[in-house]
Amino acid sequence: MNRELIVKQIEREVSKCARCGACRHLCPVYSEENMEKTSPRGKNSLLMLFLKEGGSVDEMGKILESCTVCEACVEGCPNEVHTYKIVLLGRSLVEKSKLEKEAYAIFNRNSLLKTGERVISVLQSKLMIKEGDLYRLRWRIGGIDKYLPQIPDKDFFSYYSELPDQGKFEKKVLFFTGCLIRYLYPLTGVHLVEIMNHYGWGVIAPEEQICCGLPALSSGFMDEFLESMEHNVRLFNRYKINHIISACGSCENTLKNYYREFAEFSTLSAEEIRVFSERIMDVSEFMLQVIGVDRDIFPSPEKVTYHDSCHLNRGIGVREAPRALLRNAGRFVEMREADVCCGFGGSFSVKQYETSQKILQRKMRNVEETGAEYLVAECPGCILQLNEGKEKYLSGELKVRHLVDYIYEKLFLK
């Protein structure tokens, strides 16, 4: 990790800030906490202060924690200051414990993740209490009350190996699964493959792919992030297939944008990254524009609303395709603040538990207001958070679905 280069990049970005304050109320964290230190302008200013005058690194780390990396601040900034980038770079300057470093290194080790998945799957009923469809942690540390879905006993690739040979299809796409689909929601991945196959597309998912690197980057582990980036770019560039599809907004944004934005720290050439990232395509756009699944969806009368995952919306610019699909599938109702973060933000949801929950409560209030029976999103991170929100804050019979699963149900289960 090149500390000097990181500091220089932060300085370059922060110097664009005119301190007008336009970002404050776009920030989901500020909107709940109402203190300058949680606003994008405040975070930028503090980082500059620390770099100029030194100060407690712990304090800096604490302040930089209060960001979900939703990128909303960039959207409203007249000078386009990339505060999320400043935050990510700043987090990499904060010292971390060895234990934490090792924990994040696990994201890049498939064998460890796979073993972990099996172990937790077996132990889940001992460690957690079943509530509704979810499991709730039995012990609460520091008041943190988290819910998880049932951990599957096998990962996506165990299912994938039982699916028809994908090589036999003439038309092919590459599939970047991402950790959450791979280990937590493997059936979403299976449904994606089955939809694609139904329309004559083979789905090539290289098993050696590793985490996109966002968890590491977002916790300040630049080296581990770069390892992910270099591994995935080299791996996928061996395949001469036009599209790399993904069903996780956060992975997509990392692969398409963050790999480019942090390119200068890596050993990859700009050309290698370009060839990789320009092939990234979101599954909703693929389903709508390339294969046109909408013509086969039989519309049902159920009310459905959509939550924009921040990275898919702001990072990739996908807003319309999921809505277009949903308009075909059910009675689509737009919720208020659909594009406001759900409060997940990876480790943010634990490290800044209380704020994360306040943001989530607001999201669930907006969902409730629509009277929708289905809440659809297109990022498994959001799905994790929204399911928890439903369990904790809503009493009705709301069903939370990943877009792929929802479309799959409409195509094949009706």
Partner: protein
């Protein structure tokens, strides 16, 4: 200043929980700045959540003789919220409740920390309208708007913040709570302290509750974009356009600003050196009639114009206006942003002078803004790091203001004086006039603890 901070803090902790008192350097730094790019550290930052806490804090400040500076969103352009003499910054970020929206008597009662656009959204939900819309409406607070008497784009037809403040609850420097104005439409009882406090920049009292007048929500809008081959052609037409009937908004964009936006947005207006953006809102019949007359007016004078046919097109027009600031910062990072105001008959002279002065000092200038109320933002562009260029830009700014005063205009239409325009204020008023203002300040705040170092 010789203050026993330990004792002051002990007393403060009796009023507020520790998480709402900041004394650490990093936290104080966050309240040292606003949109002026200047920095002054406060000694303490406090976050009250109700009037009683404000009273307690103010009493302590008085007892210890320490300055107290109220602060909303910290988005001001004149330094109003900067603690130039240190002391306590009283942040209203956590006093942001809308207490009442009265749909029968058409008023809203709010705390100072409410964000202006949040109020807009909430009152519009029930068919009411709060017209003042400063460009910062999405992030500035009502308290800040009232303290600076903020203007906005719709001021042409609807007036400014002052015109909508009906009543105030104010904490005086000795901790006394007073109420000014009333919730009635007419009220001439006694001196009009409400209008005195609006725009007083936190120097007379600390506002803890504001009653705002609302009006029925206008339901129809018409928007025009007129193009001219010189900026003078555009601006000269303003008085006649206003005579057709007051639009809600009449904005001017000069050629330089337009070119900046063109490259920024990738739009193209070849041969256009001046733009007027005109919008009217109200009931359908009235606004459509107005639009018809404006159309005839343009056609008779062979003015090239576009009329927004739908919301999407309207949004495109406004995007041009809204993108000017960002576009200019791509050309030069800094600018002295004047908010001078002249009579509409002097608008042509104002922009001519701004160009003459720019040429004289060899500096780039962009003129745009609220032509409908004579409030043009004259921007002398520069790079702060280039000391020579910065000085030339400042000199140009001063000369511009002198010209404005000669025309009988004002040095600030909506940003306030704060610390940025103290010298300029002295050019506009006589010593006697300023002394009278100081006497008023002393009557409210004899010990000068409220936002000291501002205005004068």
């Amino acid at each position: 200043m010789n203050v026993d901070f330990e004792s002051l803090l002990r007393n403060l902790r009796n009023i507020l929980p520790p998480e709402r008192i900041s004394t650490r350097q990093a936290e104080r730094y966050l309240y040292s700045y606003d949109a002026t790019a200047l920095e002054f550290y406060p000694d303490i930052v406090v976050f009250p959540t109700n009037r009683e806490e404000v009273v307690g804090i103010v009493k302590l400040a008085g007892k210890y003789g320490i300055p107290i500076v109220p602060r909303g969103a910290g988005s001001g352009m004149s330094g109003g919220a900067l603690p130039v003499e240190g002391g306590i910054v009283l942040s209203f970020e956590k006093m942001n409740r809308i207490k009442e929206i009265n749909t029968i008597n058409h008023y809203a009662v709010v705390e100072p920390g409410v964000i202006t656009s949040v109020l807009h959204r909430e009152v519009e939900k029930v068919g009411l309208f709060y017209p003042p819309d400063p460009a910062s409406r999405n992030f500035s607070s009502i308290g800040g708007n009232v303290a600076e008497n903020a203007g906005g784009l719709r001021a042409v037809k609807y007036g400014v913040t002052r015109d909508y403040v009906m009543a105030l609850e104010v904490v005086l420097p000795d901790g006394t709570v007073i109420h000014t104005g009333s919730k009635t439409i007419k009220d001439v009882a006694g001196y009009d302290l409400t209008r005195l406090l609006v725009g007083s920049e936190g120097t007379l009292g600390i506002i803890t509750e504001i009653t705002l007048k609302l009006i029925p929500l206008p339901r129809w809008k018409e928007t025009f974009l007129a193009q001219f081959s010189t900026p003078e052609d555009a601006i000269s037409l303003v008085p006649e356009i206003l005579s057709i009937g007051l639009p809600s908004t009449l904005e001017f964009i000069d050629g330089f600003s337009l070119r900046a936006v063109e490259s920024y947005l990738g739009v193209n207006f070849p041969g256009t050196e001046g733009v007027l953006l005109i919008e009217n809102m109200g009931n359908r019949g009235e606004v459509e009639h107005w639009a018809g007359e404006l159309k005839n007016f343009f056609e008779k004078r062979n003015v090239k114009f576009l009329r927004a046919e739908n919301e999407e097109q309207r949004e495109k027009f406004w995007k041009i206006r809204r993108s000017i600031s960002a576009s200019l910062s791509k050309i030069k990072p800094n600018r002295f942003n004047e908010d001078v105001v002249v009579k509409r008959s002097d608008l042509k002279r104002l922009i001519a002078e701004s160009y003459r002065i720019a040429k004289k000092h060899n500096i780039l200038v962009a003129d745009f803004g609220h032509a409908g109320d004579g409030n043009i933002h004259v921007n002398y562009l520069h790079d702060r790091k280039d000391e020579n260029e910065r000085r030339r830009a400042w000199r140009a700014t001063e000369e511009m203001v002198e010209e404005v005063i000669k025309m009988g205009g004002t040095v600030s239409g909506e940003h306030g004086i704060g610390i940025m325009k103290k010298e300029l204020l002295r050019k506009q008023f006589t010593e006697e006039e300023i002394e009278l203002m100081k006497k008023i300040k002393r009557a409210f705040d004899p010990d000068n603890i409220l936002n000291p170092g501002k205005i004068f």
